[in-house]
Structure formats: C-alpha cells, structure tokens
Symmetry: C4
Subunit: 209 residues, 4 copies
Amino acid sequence: MKTFMNLNRFEAFSDGVFAIAMTLLVIEIKVPDLSHATASTAINVLIHVAPHIISYITSFLVIGVLWLNHHALFHLLKRVDRIALTINLALLMCIAFIPFPTALIGEYGKLQPIVMFYGLTLSLTGIVYNVLWFYVVRQYLWSHPQANRRFIYQASLWSIGYPIFYLIASLVSLSNITLSTILYILIPLFYLFPSVIDRQLSNLSDEIS
Amino acid sequence: MKTFMNLNRFEAFSDGVFAIAMTLLVIEIKVPDLSHATASTAINVLIHVAPHIISYITSFLVIGVLWLNHHALFHLLKRVDRIALTINLALLMCIAFIPFPTALIGEYGKLQPIVMFYGLTLSLTGIVYNVLWFYVVRQYLWSHPQANRRFIYQASLWSIGYPIFYLIASLVSLSNITLSTILYILIPLFYLFPSVIDRQLSNLSDEIS
Amino acid sequence: MKTFMNLNRFEAFSDGVFAIAMTLLVIEIKVPDLSHATASTAINVLIHVAPHIISYITSFLVIGVLWLNHHALFHLLKRVDRIALTINLALLMCIAFIPFPTALIGEYGKLQPIVMFYGLTLSLTGIVYNVLWFYVVRQYLWSHPQANRRFIYQASLWSIGYPIFYLIASLVSLSNITLSTILYILIPLFYLFPSVIDRQLSNLSDEIS
Amino acid sequence: MKTFMNLNRFEAFSDGVFAIAMTLLVIEIKVPDLSHATASTAINVLIHVAPHIISYITSFLVIGVLWLNHHALFHLLKRVDRIALTINLALLMCIAFIPFPTALIGEYGKLQPIVMFYGLTLSLTGIVYNVLWFYVVRQYLWSHPQANRRFIYQASLWSIGYPIFYLIASLVSLSNITLSTILYILIPLFYLFPSVIDRQLSNLSDEIS
C-alpha cells in the first residue's frame, strides 16, 4: 500500500469543502418578496421563512457532525493512499451536494418526494462515510494488530447506524411527513451530544501514543 | 476534561467559515435591472444600491470584529474539548447565517420587522459568543489559578455588552428605524477601534509566557 | 531563477480555489418551481433535475482529478518562481470558471454549442495544465539531471492526452451529442482510477529522497 | 507597538478571502435563457456572454495581482499589530466587494456610470492597499534602519501608481467607454508581467536573511 498524500494537506482540503458547504447553505434561503408588504404583513412573510431556517440548522448540524467524525477518523491514520483519497472525494461530493436538498426541503417541505429525497441524500452520504470508515479502520488494524477491538466494534456500530437511521426516517415520510422531518432534526443532535466519538478517538489515540 | 482536537485545525476550520461568510455577503447584492436605463438614469439606480453597500460594510465589520475576538479568545487555550467544539459550531451557525438578514435589511431596510430581525440575529450571535467566552475563560482560570482576574472581569464585561447593545438597538427600531440602523453601524466600529481586546490578549498572553 | 513563494502557502491558496470551485457547483443547480406540484408530479420534476446532478458529478470529478494531479505535480518542486505562479493563476482561472459551463450543460444539455462549449473549456483547462506541467518538469530535470526520464515521458504523455481527449469529445458533439456527453463522464473516471499518477509521484519522490 | 497576531493565521485568513472572492466571480455570470434557442441561435446567445467572461478574466487578474503583492508585502513583517489588521480588514472588504462591480460591468458594460463605478472601486481598493503598504513599510524601516531605501522608493512609486492608473482609466470613460475598458484590462497585465515585485521582494528578503 503506497502512501500518497500528506495528511495535513488532505485534511485542510477536506475541511475547506466542509466549511464551504456549511456556509453556502445560507445562500439557498432566498430573500422573500416584500415589495408590497407593510410593517405588520412583513412579520407574516418572515414566519414563512421559518422552514428554511429549520432546514438550514438541520443541515448545518449534519455537516458539522460529519466533520467532527471525519476528523476523528483520519486521526487514526498517518498517511492517505489513493483508494482512501478516492472514497473521500466521493464523500466530499455528497457533502457539497447537501445545500441542494436543503433548499428543496426548505421551499417544498410539504411534498413527500422532496422530504424523502432529503433523507435519501443523507443516507447515501452516510453509506459513503461507512465505506471510508471501514477502509480506514481495516488499515488501522493492520498497522495496530493489538488495538482494542471492542472500541472499534462499538464505533463501527455507531457508524453503520447513521445511514440506516436516515433511510428509516426517509421511508417514514411515506406515511407521515412531519414525523420524518422531526427525525431528520433529531438524528444529528443524537450524534452530536453523546460523547461516543470522544471516547472512540481518545481511546484509540491513547493506544497510538 | 478530555482534550479533543488540535487547536490549529479547529482555528483553521473556524477561520474558513468566517472568511466565507464575509465574502458571501457580496452575493446578496443583486445586480439591478438597468436594461432600460440610459447613462443618466443609471446613476439613480446605482444610488439605490447604496443601502445594500452600507449593510454589506456593516455586516463585514460585524463578522470581522467577531473573528478578531474569536482569535483572541482561543489564544487562551491550548486544546479544545467537545463542549467547546459544540458551542463553537453553534457560533459558526450564527455567523454563517448573517448574510441572510444582511440581504433582507439591504433590500427592505424601511420595514421595522426586518430591521429588528437583523439586530436580534446579531444579539443571538453575541449570546452564543458569550457562552463560548465564559466556557473558555472558566477553563483558563482552572489551569491558570494565579491569572490576573481584573483583566478577565473587564474583558467579560466587554463581551456581555455586545449582545445587550444589539438587543437595545433592535428594540429602538420599534420607535425609530433610522436610529436603530445607525446604532447597528456604530456598534462594530466601537468594538473595532478601542484596543481593549489587544490589552486583554497581550496581558493574558504575557501571563502565559 | 529566483525563488518567489513558499510552497505551502502557494498550495494552500490553490487548494482553496479548487475546494471552492468544487463546492460552488451545487449553487448552479437551481431549485425547480414546484409551487403547483402534487406529491406525484413532484417526482417528475425531480427527475428533470437529473441532468444537473450528472453534470455536477462530472465536473466535481474533473476538478477533483485536476486537484490530485496538481498536488502530485508540485511535489516535484521545493519552491515556486513567478512564472510558475503566473501559469498557475491562469490554471486557477480556468478551474474557477468550470461552474459556468457546468450550469449551462445541466440546463441545456441538448443544444450542441453548449455541449461543445463544456468540452472546449475543459480542453483549454487541460492545455494550461500542460503548460504548467512542462514548466515544472523542465525545472525538475534541471535540478535532478539523473532523474528517471522514462517515468517523466510516461507521465507527460498522460498529461498531453487529457486536453486532446476533451477536444475529441467536444468535436464528437457535432455528430452525436449523447456520445460526447458520455465521453465527458468517462474521461475523469479514466484519469481517476488507474494509479498512473501514484506511480509517477511515488517513483519521482523515491528518487528525491 | 504591541504584536497582535501570528502572521501565519493572518495570511491564511486573508488568502481565504482572496481565494473565495476570485472563485465567486463566476457565480455572477448568469446562465442565459436558451429555452427557445436552437443549435444555431444558441451560439449567438453564447457570444453575448463574452463581456461577462472578459470582466471575469479582468477581475480575476486584478485580485490575483493584489494577492501576489499582498504576499510580498507581508513577507516584510514578522508580526501584525491591530492597526495593520484593521487596515487589512478594510482591504479585504474592498476585495470581497469586487464581484459586484464585475457583475455590473459584465451585464451593462455600455453604460458610462457602470464603467466608471468599476474603475472607482478598483481605485479605492488601490488606495486602501497603499495605506497598508506605507504602514507596513514604515514599520519595516524602523526595525531595519540600514535597509536599501532605493528599492523601497521604487516599490512605493509602483504602489502609488496603481490607484492613480485606475482613477485615470475610470475618468477616461467620460469621453470613451471602450478605451476605459481596455485600460482596465491592461493595468493588471502591466502589474503581472514586469518582475518588479520579484526584485523588490527578493532584494528586501536578501537583506533580512
């Protein structure tokens, strides 16, 4: 397995795509037409922007959580080979795409296919993330045969759950759009607050050092 | 308290979001329709772009000042734990959102709810900044029990003032929209010129080294 | 030959332009008008977005592959002079332009001049890349007279092929637009999967170290 | 004079704004409406995009040249104080604004006030650049009293010329719009090709080391 790229540059480039995708989300919130609005009707128009703001927050958290995990993941590696680079390119392609389904669900969050499309995009992103995860972990286990496998199994389960949760949430939209949307918001919060990634990272890092 | 992320990468990522949010502000200044304009009428149309340029400058300074403070703040730390990361993610979410109220106030700066919305967004951003500030300072005081607390109290007062000033400025819009807008412009200038942050940083840094 | 700029800063700046251009591609996928759509008609509208998604993926890969090559190329150098900087500026100008023909072909992929324009843009980008390639390689051979020239000839052939393939693919559009579009998608895949760049880089790097 | 910020982070942040502003220029080239176009009429529409592409190239070079100079300038410093930071913030504010007059001149390049507005924006940017230049050079001369002043005088003349050239070019638009536009294109080329900045940098750097 040939080493290919310095980890620092690889991480800086990936971070760039994450940061830009997060910041571009706001561009998709269009300024509503208020040219005929008065002070009192303007409030009603602003309230209609609320779904956009909710989808902005949700997608911001989704990309933020993926960034945190991405960082934890590559801390396991010292160098990146071309296969990891190619899978990572596919992941960045999914990340950079998220502003589009976010704009769609912000504008047409009551249409079932739009709601489902949002969840399927995030599920696909999660699948690509898992491909990267297992590729990196396999390499890590090769170079660290005595690593604590229990932590790796735990973290892998955690990783596999992510696209499955989004798949379920997007299928839920077939019977209940509101519930589906609520699940979309809860999943990144669920992945943000518990300190599983912390433990996973600090435990593995401890073994490295 | 487990350490979580290397400060350099954390700062680079945050800087990215700050820089992108600042640069995206210009995207919200739409090209006016001049297809029926002559050389003489084009000037009048350009003059109507002025409010957009003023809101561009104001928001650019707001984000710039927050960036300077953000930098000063994290200089107090050596490493970032997950709680600081999560609060910082919430702060970046507010920063990356600023182009939207900026576009709104540039376009409809005479509608009171729009003017108030701008101020409330910046006030909320200031509140999240303060949560981060007190979290970081608390950690700093733990690891530096002999730190000069007078400087920290001074800088904290300075920090708390920020969201309060924006809250007041946004409430002023209920009786006087123009005054409210003028206050919005003065607040970042007020935080830019006095060298309080300088002193706060250099004093604390002196104690570190 | 005077040295001009630290390689790290040069690469970071170039990486920034690559990352932003890749992420901006999504902005060109406009949210379709679904205001009169029902759940069942929304799917049809979504299907019409497909060409945009295909052009998004294609251009993302094109820029991604150029980024990988750009990285491999500058690894041959230790410092960058002003001529390399100027050629690189021209290359970044082409890269940053790619979102525009991508938006055009996503929207009007059935119009022959649009299809041809896309290919010609990528061909021109490839030509500028080759100018940079030969400038850098010439310098490398000066400072490493005993370098393995067979690898360099191979890699150069590979480089020259890129704009020629895109030129051919864009000319094909004159008789068959669909075939031309398929070729556009295959070329970056062809340059992504074979590990020629790997070998070229690792071989030359081995000689350096 | 208190030092305020590490030069690396300051440069990385500035580079980010430069890179984003350059890449955002393409966003302002709107996809023309070709929904009723045939293969033959599409070419005519594409030709109408040409002014946008010329203004894209011009502004890309303008920002690129300013970036090269910005880099050369800060190489003279080791650390950045708050005054330099504040002037730099004003410069970045001008840089990040450039996409707007670029979009205007690309769309309405035949209206005299628009052509003049473009030149005045670049002239203002040049003035802010000069303020920064003289602030930095003054500091450099303090800490390097034996520096070769002839080079600094030469480079200063070069710097002062920049906003004056743009001011003249924008005033020329009052009598001849085409000539004014041609001058806008020539000025960055003039500042790109002669290797004055090279000499200035390498000479001063030689004195430092």
